[in-house]
Symmetry: C2
Subunit: 421 residues, 2 copies
């Protein structure tokens, strides 16, 4: 029986509307199940050592619901290019290099280190179409204790010659990779990951739906991100109203699916996401960087659609989900203006919820400190951030962390019930 | 005769359209006048020591054209409040505390340190209405070698009781403060700084215009930032079409004026800014944070209006002008969408220009390494930012710095011809 007791200023969002803050509280976990938060330590734990983080903040681990690991190589570059130029100049040539495992090791190690240092405990990750490099990425994530769904991606059409599979080859390699990896790791699982509808033939989408069902796997892709992509899909599948219906037709939409962006959903598509229990990965930095637009997040939340946050490296350049929280508020204010003040903007507790419990539900009971949840926790030292902590409420301190903290402020991490730094 | 020779990868933007990059070049300054950039050191400098920064980047000092020093206390807080709630809860009560010089010293020191560490060599700064604290801020900036125009601000109407002057008191205190400070510093000068039109009576605006003229001072304020503020101005001055005409009436618009925001300019107001030679301080992070809107920067640039960048602490939470550059591109992409793809978005060289030479012209020949310019230079070590430098062009390296660097990457600074770190 492994019991962990953390002491500090405990902050989480059991509900979306407000923070629950317990100053100098005790967070107790037994065998990776949170037992409770206590202002005084219960009698039965008195003989167990307490990890005392003093005046630091203890928050749930951050969940990155959409990120391209190979694109970490060129994050922060090409940000004044249009999307297709950017893909052709940076994304595709870089991804092609991941055929080389020694190249892949260098950048996947750097990627996983950066995630861990920036407070992420869980992630849903695109690899490349190369099964060996993707399996290597999974090994590295396992070793660094980042709990993740990882995808060998599929692309067999509308892709550059040097980065394109055959339909049969794509499906065969995917199934072999699933068999090789699905029982190999403790923290990491394979996920079905079509790049997006334009680069996948209907044969591949159909086969991926069957593999997802056969092996009971999670699914990850992009949806309704920009008008160009959507135009291609409408032309190829004129019988369907929207991207969502195409994915659904191939058996790729259910409560184990996460879809990134969803900037231009139709009413029918919103309803479909809700019915299928799909999680939307909102990537606010990327939405602006690729000049795609602003998704109607308030509307999704009001409908009860599940939403988390993603860094979308390298459409986004920041790997820290705190930054995604800040950007989500910022972008929602521009949506508020765009909607003539109809769509109220997101609040600080709401974006914190999205970056923790909102994404965390995709992994089970994750992203909150309620009883029965797994212990993913980050310890944050905010003493370098300016005004002394005793002048601020805990709500103010976590808001300041969201806006001003960086990797220097994360001082300890726990993932799935184990210390991980 | 003081000669400084810096060696490294020299990057600047003599024109707005592209970077000029000189790998492993020599930048030579004599008595704070740049002589040139050389790939081989000219004979006459052979006996002068060279400061060799090896493979690091050498860029012009960054110019922050609009920032509220006292608001540094609460940066990163209240970012889901509406503007008036934020002013009443954070801005006004905090500013009132600057009556206390020991409080002011703590936060003004922290503010100036943060600016210096983040690559800023020049700034245009709001203080509070308190002359003693504002003079202290000027002393601190002088000591930290930040060249600045600093304002004791004026507010005698529509302000909270505890932070409001009488018209006569406001003008008398301003003139005394000008006399006390205008010849006292080497790097720092007083600037006429009405908070904005709503908080200044016409008597005060008239008096400030006269003081600006009498002492030949620079001028700094806010203009056409949001529809609420503009409504107050239209009601008070129905004879004028826009904020600009009101400032102009009081003699406050000329080529020594910088005005922040300018989100909702009228055509006449744009033309007026151009004719008067006013500099606009574009503060992209603040524009979103306070949900004000997106200014037509492309249109201003096409018209030949002068534009620089501002952090607008604490409407913005980031004090680094690199972040303002990144945010300016991001926001311009949303403007591009809003304008139905009419207003092309800003490029990386353009925002670099705005953050250096664009703002720098307000201070004289500043913000570029052309001959005759002052030597403001920052040395940037980008070796921690990922992909090895030898895989990237210098244009790519500076773009990556704009998006990923922070205070850790600035390793040396020169301001007005002197080493300053």
């Amino acid at each position: 029986m492994s019991t962990i007791i953390l002491k500090g200023n405990i902050i989480h969002t059991p509900s979306r509307t407000h923070f629950e803050c317990i100053p100098h509280g005790y967070l107790v976990s037994e065998n990776n199940q949170i037992q409770g938060i206590y202002t005084e330590l219960p009698e039965q734990y008195k003989n167990i050592p307490v990890q005392d983080y003093k005046d630091r903040l203890i928050i749930p681990g951050l969940c990155d619901m959409h990120v391209h690991a190979p694109q970490f190589v060129y994050r922060g570059l090409g940000l004044d290019l249009q999307l297709m130029d950017w893909l052709n100049h940076y994304a595709f040539p870089t991804e092609a290099r991941f055929q080389d495992l020694s190249y892949a090791r260098i950048y996947y190690e750097a990627f996983a280190d950066a995630m861990a240092k920036n407070g992420t405990s869980r992630a849903v990750i695109f690899g490349t179409l190369h099964a060996p490099a993707t399996e290597l990425l999974m090994e590295i994530l396992e070793q660094k204790k980042i709990a993740a769904y990882v995808g060998k991606i599929n692309m067999d059409t509308l892709s550059p010659d040097y980065l394109c599979e055959t339909p049969e080859g794509s499906l065969a390699a995917t199934e072999q990779w699933i068999l090789d990896t699905k029982d190999r790791f403790h923290y990491v699982q394979p996920a079905i990951t079509p790049r997006f509808i334009p680069t996948c033939s209907s044969e591949v989408l159909k086969g991926l739906g069957e593999l997802a069902s056969k092996y009971d796997l999670h699914i990850h892709s992009h949806i309704s991100e920009d008008l160009g992509e959507m135009g291609i899909v409408r032309e190829r599948y004129p019988q369907y109203d929207n991207d969502g219906e195409v994915y659904d037709h191939f058996g790729l939409l259910n409560d184990k699916t996460v879809m990134a962006h969803f900037i231009y959903p139709t009413d029918r598509e919103l309803e479909l996401m809700k019915q299928r229990g799909v999680t939307i990965a909102h990537c606010p930095q990327s939405n602006g960087n690729v000049a795609a637009g602003i998704p109607p997040i308030r509307r999704m939340l009001d409908m009860g659609i599940k939403v988390g946050l993603g860094s979308d490296i390298a459409g986004g350049y920041s790997i820290c989900i705190l930054r995604a929280m800040a950007d989500a508020v910022y972008l929602s204010k521009l949506k508020w203006l765009e909607s003539k003040k109809q769509d109220s903007f997101l609040t600080i507790p709401e974006v914190f919820y999205l970056g923790t419990k909102g994404g965390g539900q995709f992994f089970g009971k994750v992203g909150s400190f309620e009883p029965g949840y797994e212990l993913d926790a980050m310890v944050v030292d905010d003493s370098s951030l300016g005004t002394p902590a005793d002048c601020l409420t805990l709500e103010e301190r976590i808001e300041r962390v969201i806006h001003l903290a960086d990797d220097r402020n994360f001082t300890a991490r726990y993932v799935a019930g184990e210390a991980a730094l």
